[in-house]
């Protein structure tokens, strides 16, 4: 079965650079979530989109922005990168509000390293 696809799997950037992470949800899933997971930490919710509109906002820094496109894929744009941004970034998808008891399906993440 198709899963959530994230690209790239690994990304190395320097401080103050920008990065774009991409997420392709499971077909027919209408909700996308972005999470940040630091070493030994639980996933921290950043932002979500339902039907291409921002749905919920978590602890996403102002330096970050995201959007969901007409084909339901999503991109997380990160600017002025800081050392503390080094983490695993996960995207998850689910069937949205009408099916709120459905689990999230996670991609394998993008490991972002800031030098």
């Amino acid at each position: 079965a198709a899963g959530v696809i994230q690209s790239p799997r690994h990304l190395i950037k320097e401080k103050r650079e920008t990065a774009t992470l991409k997420c392709y949800p499971i077909p027919r899933h209408d909700t996308v979530y972005w999470y940040q997971q630091g070493p030994g930490q639980d996933p921290q919710f950043l932002i979500s989109f339902y039907e291409k509109m921002q749905s919920d906002k978590g602890s996403i820094p102002d330096r970050f922005s995201a959007q969901q496109f007409s084909d339901y894929h999503s991109e997380l744009n990160m600017s002025s990168l800081e050392l503390g941004d080094s983490a695993l970034y996960f995207c998850a998808s689910s069937l949205g509000r009408a099916y709120s008891n459905q689990p999230q399906h996670f991609g394998d993440g993008t490991r972002l390293s800031i030098l």
């Binding site: 930490q41 639980d42 919920d56 709120s100 008891n101 689990p103 999230q104 996670f106 394998d108 993440g109």
Partner: protein, 114 residues
């Protein structure tokens, strides 16, 4: 507000023995409860969920969890642990009819010894 507590950072068990990974939650109203497993450098994989109905929920890879409303718990169990079960386990809760964003626990590292 909703919250999840996983009181053990690490659980050690011998292969073949039963395992329990603990989870308690706090939510106003009825909860939806989930367990996920995470292997190194991989995303979280859904194991099982409790929505309503039977308190004992069976999931993937022989795992099960028991919903206890009076104790606000949703402990993950398996009758016979395998070395390949060694991973990080996350409990999550979302409120029925409430926020669509689940709250995760801090995770419990399960180590199964041969």
């Amino acid at each position: 507000a909703q919250s999840v507590a996983q009181p053990e950072d690490q659980v050690n068990v011998a292969e073949g023995n039963p395992l329990t990974v603990k989870c308690t939650y706090s939510v106003s109203g009825n909860p939806y409860l989930f367990w996920y497993v995470q292997y190194p450098n991989r995303g979280l994989q859904f194991l099982l969920k409790y929505i309503t109905g039977d308190n004992l929920v069976k999931g993937s890879y022989g795992f099960e969890a028991e919903f206890n409303k009076s104790q606000t718990s949703f402990h993950l169990k398996k009758p016979s642990a395998l070395v390949s079960d060694s991973a990080l386990y996350f409990c999550a809760v979302r409120k029925s009819g409430g926020s669509y964003i689940p709250t995760f626990g801090r995770g419990t590292s399960l180590i199964v010894h041969p």
